[in-house]
Every structure is written in C-alpha cells, then in structure tokens.
Amino acid sequence: MRPSSDLIRLALPFVALGALLGGVFWLQPRAMSYTGLNLLFNLAVPIALATLAQMFIIAVNDLDLSMGAFVGFAACVTATFLNETPWLGGLILLASVAVYAALGVVIHLRRLPAIVVTLGMSFVWLGLAVMILPAPGGAAPGWLRTLMTVRPPGIPMALAASLLIALAAHLVVARSALGVVIRGVGGNERSVARAGWSVLHARAAAYALAGLFGVLSGMALVGLTTSADANIALRYTLLSIAGVILGGGEFVGGRVSAVGAVAGALTLALAGSFLSFLRLSPDWQIGAQGAILILVLALRLGLDAIEQRRARA
C-alpha cells in the first residue's frame, strides 16, 4: 500500500497543476498559446530553481530560512558584478556556493540547528545585498537576458527550462550515488555513517548543491526582470518550502522528489495567476491565494479516497 501512496504524493502536484491550468484556460483562452504559456510560467523558473535548492537542504532533514535572502543576494551580484566584471562576479557567486558548503560543515560538526544558522544567514545575505545595491538597480548581463527570453520552437522557454531543470535535478537526486547518500543521511544518518560514508561530505555536498541552485535561481530571476534589488526574492523562502512539500517532500526522513518539487513550484506560481483571472475584490485577493493553496492540498484527500477505493476492490 505504501508505494502507491508514494505515487499519490508524486501525482498530487501534477493533478493540481493540471486543474489550475484547466481553470486558467477556461477563464482566459488566450493563455492557451505559445506566448500565453510563456507568460504564465516564465517567472516560475527561478522559483523552481529555489525550490530545488531548498529540496537539497530538506533532504538532509534541515530547513533553510535564508533561501529568499540568498537568491536576492545572488540576483544583486548578477545584476552588478557579474554584469560589469564577469570574472569577479563569477568568483563571488562561487564563493557564496562555498559558503553554503561551509555552513553544511559547521552545522554537521557542531550539530547546530540548521534553522537558527540559516535564520542568522538570512540577515547576512540581506545585509550584503543591501550593501551591494542600496537602491534597486543594476542590469542583467546581455547573454543572460538573451537566454531567459529565447523562444525555442514548439515549446515555450519557461516549460522547456522547467523540464530540463527537473530532469537534471532528478538525475542528481534519484540516480546518482551522491543523491542516494544524501537521501540516506536524511533517512538514517547512523547507518550511512556505519557503512563507511562520510556524512560530513554528504551534508556539505547537499548544501553546496543548494547554494548552486540558489545562485542559478538568482541569475534566472535577473535574466527575467533585467535588474535586481535586495528584497526581490524574500518571498522565495516560504515559496520554496511550500513547493517542496507540495511536490511530495517531507520535512524529515529524506523523502524528496525533484520532479515533484518543480511541479510544486509551477503550481504555486500558477495559483497566483489563476487568481488575477478571477477578478476578485482587492480585499480578498490575498485571502484567495490561501484558499487556493488549501484547495490544492485538499486534492490529496480526493486522491487518497480514490486510492483506498481501488485498494478495497
């Protein structure tokens, strides 16, 4: 029975995504086009990357409260240093990935609660971002802008990018030995250590991957918005956590799914759009976001019911 409930967890974001997309198409048939899909989804690409970053942290039973601030920092660096002096910008971004890995090391060695450390780091990243860009500004490097606005034939960039990202992350998480060890650490750290693996390395790698995807998220964001500000991505902390959970992940136990996380991120992004097509009173537009989130997750109940009926039959 369990494997099929796993399947349900995986199916949930796709069902939700499909339902929302259906709703959007029904409200606004114009969205059912190449340009329409691109407009609907292109801002979901950075969210998907941030969600994957968060997923690596959740895979080792930690939680990153600094993800939004970090993506904002990466965006500020991209819009300034990477644009003006690419080598320096690249170096800073690499260093920030290294900082992430170092955080993993410190958290592991000192057995610190990751939530507190990342809470502290959220101030650090935000402070750095404010120092780089005291007022919004900067500009996206040309190549990045080109990359994020490219119009591949047949499939909108946003969807193609999401697919590619999901696939790449899936290979790392589910197919590679590293991914297995990272999830193993989330599932049962002691037994991984007893089998002779270095849990330290595994955790550092998970954090480094999170840092990498966080940087990519910041870069993708700047590519879309053409410039940055320090507060640009603060929402991503909660969005990324919600995306991982929506995508079938769990807070403890190393149960995560890369494909699910990307689908979860797309769902969350689409939920916002769906609302603006509904033309609610501004008073309730915020509340409706909550209602959609609840509805999407309540789908799980329906799926469970179907599953149970099938199991009984």
């Binding site: 609660p113 507190v116 809470l119 502290g120 780091m121 976001q289 209602a291 997750l297 799980r300």
Partner: protein, 314 residues
C-alpha cells in the same frame, strides 16, 4: 558551572553582553532607560514566542505561520469593537481571544481534516485571516480606549506593565510545560507522534489545544500591541513571524520538537531587541547592521554548542 549547561544560558549571556556594550556607548547613562525599553518590547516577542514554543514542541514541521495575521485581525477587530470606549475593554479583549481561538481551531482543522502540513496550512490560513483584517475596516487606525492605552504604556514600580503581563504568562507557560500533564503530553508527541499515540496520549486533543493556545496568545499580543502603539495597523504583525520563531530557537528549544524550555524565550526576546539597539547606537547602516545581526545570532548558537548543551533530565 551547571547553569552554563542549560540550553537557555547562552541567550541570556548574549543579552547581557549586548546590553553592556550598548550602555558603554553612553558611559552607563542609558542603563535604566534601555532596560525598560527592552523589557517593554521583548514582552511582545515573549507572548507570541510562548505560543510558538508549544507548537514547535509538537515535533518536526509544526510551526504556526499565522501569528502575524492573527495579531492583525485581533488588533483591528477588537479596537473597532471598543471604538475608544473604556467600558468596552473586556468585550474587546474577549473578542481578541475569541479570534485567536477561532484561528487556532481552523489551523488544526486544516491540519487534521485536510491533512495539510502545518507549515502550509497555517500560511494559507494566514492569507485568509489577513484578507479578513483588510476587509473589516480597510486599514483605518482606531485609537484604543484611554485607560488601555495608559495601562499598556505604563509601569508598575518601574517595570513596564506589559513586561509584567508577559512575565506572568511565562510563569504559567513554565508550569504548563514542566509540571503539567498537558506539557508532558505535548513533549511526548514532539519526540514521536506514533509512540505518544500508542502510549495512550490523545494526540489530536493535545495538538489542537497547542495550536489554539498559540493563536490565542497571538490574539492577545495583537490586542496589546494595538493598544500600545495607539491603534492597529494592517502590517503590525509582520515582524513577529520571524521573532516568534527566532526567540524559541535562539532560546535553546529544539527545533526538532520534544525538548523546549521557557527561560530562553525571555533571553532571546531581549537579545533580539538589544542587538538592533546596539548596532543602531553605534551607527551602523542597514547593510552592516543586518550582517552583524546575523553573525551574532550564529555566534551565540555556536558558543552554546561549544560548551555543550545539557539534556533536560526528568
């Protein structure tokens, strides 16, 4: 030094150090004023922190993100109900607590009935509650009754009234957590929900009551904050999301649940206020100030880990 092994010790040490550094800037002239301000503002953090602590104690993934919205709705609606009339203070307070109760019930309803993970359930509900707060009076600030405004900004024997209220609540929370059966049950659930269930704990009842208690404290905090700052504002709870979580975890409670402590909440709430005051006092700009805040938080947690944290026996 056994006190150093207490999980809450480091929040207090950090508070004292930061306090000393801040008053050093004025050669001690500001000592009393700063302490009074710190206790006043820490009180709000403590009140929401106590509630958040019980929820976090319930185990991994349990956290209440609806605190800010609950504060806002409770503050807005109760001030609207009182409409500045001293006679309406009690109904106003009752309404604030009732709103908290309602939000808590809904939170757990979503968690239990729809099986939504708490972090998302409370986040989603908070959007709805926030909308309700906007809808009720579109952000118009209504003044609190004179008597309440005077009470919430007043002091007793030099101690801010709010700090006294928060202090009393702290004592109650300590008794609940450390001495009551309910606290035992919350802590048991936080270590292992299935084990607690098989040991006969009525897990739904206990979890529900923790969420309701948390939301009620948020409602109370919103009520007091609105009275204190001269009216409810739509964004008045925003800061308290991070603060409520931070005071719990910096105060030495385990984020994985099942192991919490009350004294650390005061230490951490004072610390969070004083650290900003210290950096403001020394004239740091926004960027460096935030960076230093973050580094200091990490340093505190690191120092605590280097000295080794004792486990709470029992």
């Amino acid at each position: 030094m056994t006190v150093l092994r207490k999980p809450w010790a480091w929040a207090w040490i950090a508070t004292i150090v930061v306090y000393a550094i801040t008053i050093a800037a004025t050669a001690g002239a500001s000592a009393a004023g700063l302490a009074q301000a710190a206790f006043t503002f820490a009180a709000f953090g403590v009140i929401v922190g106590l509630g958040q602590m019980f929820v976090i104690t319930l185990g991994p993934g349990n956290v209440d993100l609806s605190i800010p919205a609950t504060m806002t709705l409770a503050g807005t609606l109760s001030l609207k109900l009182m409409n500045g009339a001293d006679a309406m203070v009690l109904p106003g307070l009752t309404l604030a607590l009732a709103i908290g109760t309602g939000v808590g019930l809904l939170n757990y309803g979503l968690i239990k009935v729809l099986r939504i993970p708490p972090i998302i359930a409370t986040l989603a509900l908070s959007f709805i509650v926030q909308s309700a707060a906007i809808w009720t009076n579109r952000g118009l600030r209504i003044k609190p009754p004179e008597s309440l405004a005077a009470f919430s900004t007043g002091t007793l024997l030099g101690i801010p009234n709010l700090a006294i209220i928060a202090g009393l609540l702290t004592v109650v929370a300590w008794v609940l957590l450390e001495r009551s059966i309910w606290g035992r049950r919350v802590t048991a659930i936080g270590q292992s929900l299935p084990a607690a269930r098989r040991a006969g704990v009525a897990v739904d009842g206990v979890r529900l009551s923790a969420y309701v208690l948390c939301a009620m404290l948020a409602g109370l905090c919103g009520f007091l904050l609105a009275c204190f700052s001269g009216g409810a504002a739509l964004n008045m709870g925003a800061e308290y999301l991070l603060i409520s979580i931070a005071v719990v975890v910096i105060g030495g409670s385990s984020v994985a649940g099942g192991n919490s402590n009350v004294p650390g909440i005061w230490g951490a709430a004072l610390f969070l206020f004083l650290v900003v005051s210290m950096l403001n006092t020394y004239g740091f700009g926004a960027g460096p100030r935030m960076i230093l805040t973050g580094i200091i938080i990490i340093a505190v947690i690191l120092a605590a880990s280097l000295r080794g944290r004792g486990t709470e026996g029992g």
